[in-house]
């Protein structure tokens, strides 16, 4: 990764995911994405929302990819996944977690490319973060992020690397 500028790899991974996230929301979930709302930036700090699912990559590029949702957007996504079926109160929390994880799994799995050497990258099972978190850029770390604004709120996508710089800072729940 040394031949690439800081954040370049992360941005190259993020861009196809951003495109897939928009098509997933629009075509698969029938949720309207507000035009001109998506942009990629490399900030020094990222605020993760309380509804956040993350996935790690394995192979020649090791990064963490997170996807956060506003509450209302997540509720609409749950409705879309349930396809009009009612869910029992006792299983609604688990379904909400499952949907949050499944979207990051689908978008990342569908769109994952290796801009470094083209070799296959694996992904870990999704992990949930249960509270809002601030991630600060470390000296050797890189962060690329994008916001997709929909009629029901925002989705925040973040690619952060290298993975080991942040894994300990995120207290997560493995599903």
């Amino acid at each position: 990764m040394k031949d690439k500028e800081a954040g370049e790899i992360e941005t190259e991974i993020l861009l196809p995911m951003l495109e897939r996230a928009i098509s997933f929301l629009t075509d698969d979930m029938q949720i309207k994405v507000t035009s001109n709302s998506a942009e990629v930036v490399c900030p020094n700090q990222v605020e993760l929302k309380k509804n956040t699912a993350m996935i790690g990559t394995g192979g020649s590029i090791q990064v963490i990819i997170t996807m956060s949702y506003d509450d209302r957007l997540l509720e609409k996504l749950v409705e879309a996944f349930l396809e009009g079926e009612e869910a029992g109160e006792d299983e609604l929390d688990e379904i909400r977690e499952s949907v949050s994880s499944e979207i990051v799994n689908t978008v990342v799995g569908n769109a994952l490319t290796n801009p470094l050497d083209g070799t296959m990258l694996t992904i870990t099972p999704p992990i949930l973060i249960y509270e809002a978190k601030s991630l600060f850029k470390h000296k050797s770390s890189r962060i690329a992020t994008a916001i997709v604004t929909t009629e029901f709120g925002d989705m925040l996508l973040t690619v952060i690397g290298p993975k080991e710089s942040f894994a300990d800072a995120l207290n997560f729940k493995e599903l």
């Binding site: 379904i95 569908n110 070799t119």
Partner: protein, 138 residues
């Protein structure tokens, strides 16, 4: 009517795949949340078809298919996964999967994949893999 085992760590995917399988007129005989559970369920339930996720905790779907084929070399497995990378698809087919569905899963994708596998059931081995790659190119 086929007896189907659903393997996925995601509750919402298990629910939706179960709904689609039932709607297609088949019978869901069991569910598993990881590869190890899938192996045990397969020994016990002897399903006609397994829908198998790849990325799962404890044991992934490709490893599970390899292990299942040790005691059931004719097992019919459709991988239902988000991975679109060609190497992952090839790995799944080499492990013994007979179909591959890219998430998000739908009833139409399941119906097509089941139709391809069971239409090819009595043909020479190898034909179905070519059809699978054709399907993925569409």
């Amino acid at each position: 009517m086929l007896n189907v085992l659903i393997v996925d760590d995601s509750l919402i995917i298990r629910k939706n795949v179960k709904k689609y399988i039932t709607s297609l007129g088949h019978n869901v005989v069991g569910e598993a949340q990881n590869g190890a559970q899938a192996i045990e369920a397969c020994k016990k339930l002897k399903p006609d078809l397994i829908t198998m996720d790849i990325t799962m905790p404890d044991m992934d779907g490709i490893t599970a298919v390899k292990n299942i084929r040790v005691f059931d070399k004719d097992v019919n497995v459709i991988m239902v996964t988000s991975h679109g990378q060609e190497e992952m698809i090839v790995s799944s087919l080499k492990a013994g999967a007979k179909g591959y569905i890219l998430k998000p899963v739908s009833e139409e994708k399941l119906a097509k994949s089941i139709g391809t596998i069971f239409k090819e059931y009595n043909k020479e081995e190898g034909d179905s893999d070519d059809d699978l790659m054709d399907d993925l190119d569409e």
